[in-house]
């Protein structure tokens, strides 16, 4: 089962690597010959994803679709934070840009989802450029502050531009019936798109574009000597992450059937940062694991609280919100200190251990 991800993840180090954190991120290895076993694994995974809606559970289908959307957003943030080493604290705001743009197109122009999400991604890309350009000219770290400003500025726009965005109440989104299959259709569409976007992300790191991202993460002055336009590539890495967020936002809008400012808060951005850190920076597998973990964790938390926590739903809700904040923060800190390569690093180690047996 672990081999399923063979093509996506990178090789495990032979021993414990001394270099930790961002520096320990591994780029894609040179393509290896595909074994029959791997092909089998891939087919199995594809079959599982296709057959999944047959479980018949609406709840499971809902969660699976949500995980897939979050995987797209996390993969985008991982390009910015994990591969290129730029800290973006406003990721959810770019998800919001995609959600609003796509929804507005759907409402006013009646264009199909596939068109809307391209424009949603493009809009987030451009907004990313606007916020990224001033700070990245100065120094990479300043992006953290600029993205925080983006978080609040965009929230302000979502909330205040009432005639267009519907203000605090937001917009309700018309349903889409993908392939005539309703919720299942949307699931297939989202999962298909997720696979495509993950492959695109992976491909970037086979070529000069991805190599340049990693180079400027590690030593931007050396990157410059090699002919990499550092400012331009930093901007690209950041805006590309925002574009992924925009696509995820477009999907989120049609999935939840509502868009409002409170979906795109600082806490949501911290959620995605946690997903990147927990899953594993600079790892495609990490984006998948991190997004899945972070999406499912609050659900499990709620179950646990309902069994062991105080009685009454109001009490549970009152505890859940701060508890979530605490856990998001603790996960970021804990993984950075104790397992900087995230769940993907753990998986790598397990596989390495398995091979020795």
């Amino acid at each position: 089962m672990q081999r399923l991800f063979d093509k996506m993840v990178t090789r495990a180090p032979d021993g414990g690597s001394a270099a930790a954190g961002l520096a320990a991120a591994r780029p894609a290895p040179a393509p290896r010959s595909t074994t029959l076993f791997q092909v089998g694994g891939w087919l199995l995974l594809a079959a599982a994803l296709i057959a999944f809606p047959a479980t018949g559970s609406g709840y499971l289908l809902f969660m699976a679709t949500l995980v897939a959307i979050n995987v797209i957003a996390t993969a985008g943030l991982n390009i910015t934070v994990g591969y290129a080493g730029l800290l973006s604290i406003g990721h959810s705001a770019f998800i919001g840009v995609g959600a609003y743009v796509s929804t507005l197109m759907m409402i006013h122009l009646g264009t199909p989802l596939i068109v809307n999400l391209v424009f949603g991604g493009l809009a987030a890309f451009l907004v990313g450029l606007v916020f990224g350009a001033p700070s990245l000219r100065i120094k990479g770290v300043y992006l953290a502050i600029a993205t925080l400003a983006a978080q609040y500025s965009l929230y302000f726009v979502f909330q205040q531009w009432t005639p267009v965005t519907g203000g605090d109440r937001g917009l309700s989104v018309p349903g889409v019936n993908m392939f005539g299959l309703g919720d299942k259709g949307l699931y297939y569409f989202v999962v298909g798109l997720m696979v495509v976007l993950l492959i695109v992300a992976r491909n970037l790191f086979r070529t000069r574009v991805g190599r340049a991202f990693i180079a400027l993460r590690e030593r931007d002055y050396a990157a410059e000597v090699l002919g990499i336009n550092v400012v331009r590539y930093k901007l690209l890495a950041f805006a590309l992450g925002a574009a992924y967020a925009g696509v995820a936002g477009s999907l989120l809008a049609v999935f939840l059937r509502i868009v409002n400012p409170d979906q795109f808060t600082l806490l949501a951005s911290v959620f995605f940062l946690a997903a990147v850190v927990v899953g594993g920076q600079a790892s495609i597998l990490g984006s998948i694991l991190g997004a899945a973990f972070m999406t499912l964790m609050p659900e499990i938390l709620r179950e646990v609280l309902e069994i062991f926590g105080p009685r009454g739903t109001a009490d549970v809700a009152g505890i859940l919100s701060p508890l979530r904040e605490f856990i998001f923060g603790a996960l970021i800190v804990g993984f950075l200190v104790f397992e900087p390569r995230g769940l993907a690093g753990l998986v790598d180690r397990l596989r390495a251990g398995g091979r020795k047996d």
């Binding site: 780029p27 970037l204 574009v209 990693i214």
Partner: protein, 255 residues
Amino acid sequence: MAELLEVDGISLAFGGIAALSGVSTSVKQGRITAIIGPNGAGKTSFFNVVSGFYRPSAGAVKFDGADILAMPAHRRSTLGIARTFQNIALFEGMTVLENIKLGAHAQLKANVFTSGIYLGWARREEAALTQRVDEEVIEFLQLGEIRDREIAGLPYGMQKRVELARALVMRPRLLLVDEPFAGMNVSEKVSMAEYLRRCVTEWGTTTLLIDHDMEMVMGLSHHVAVLNFGKLIAAGDPETVRRHPAVIEAYLGAE
């Protein structure tokens, strides 16, 4: 023989402390030129001016006759200026092959879209690059065995060689080498000197190098310039420089 690099009266200061004052020197096409001098003499600052990291407060830098002072650092590689760093600036998270490929960045054309799709064109470009790296630099510098290893964990001398490979892959016209012999044992030094010599004889790469190791520098270079406290105190062929009283004094005074 033509001058490939001409540096004319450059000055540079950090917070009032002069790192370079009025330094002029030139590098002839197809030769190995060395800059020597005690610690803090301004050698690396000089490199950083030529690379485009520091903007001198006065003076001119000409490459192949054209003034490049206003040109940003990343554009200078397209002219064919490559360099290595004193403290090895390799990318640890990548393999040797990928590090070397980075040297060809400016010559490649793949963009986000072609890379993302990675079919046909971008894939062919990448394959051609892999082949070129294998045939040209990996073979030349004998890096075949470690080609797919990651940088972290490679011996120091080996890392220096990988960095040289990365600079060579762009087929530079001017190669700046910052302390190629530092921290190496004798046999590593000898083989590094041999590689550098072959860069010039076989590739025709004009080379400018900095090092402390007088023996290696004198044996390898055609021309030597000596810096001390940011000033050029002597220049000429190795024999002349070795006997120059100011040079002897600078080195004796510093030790």
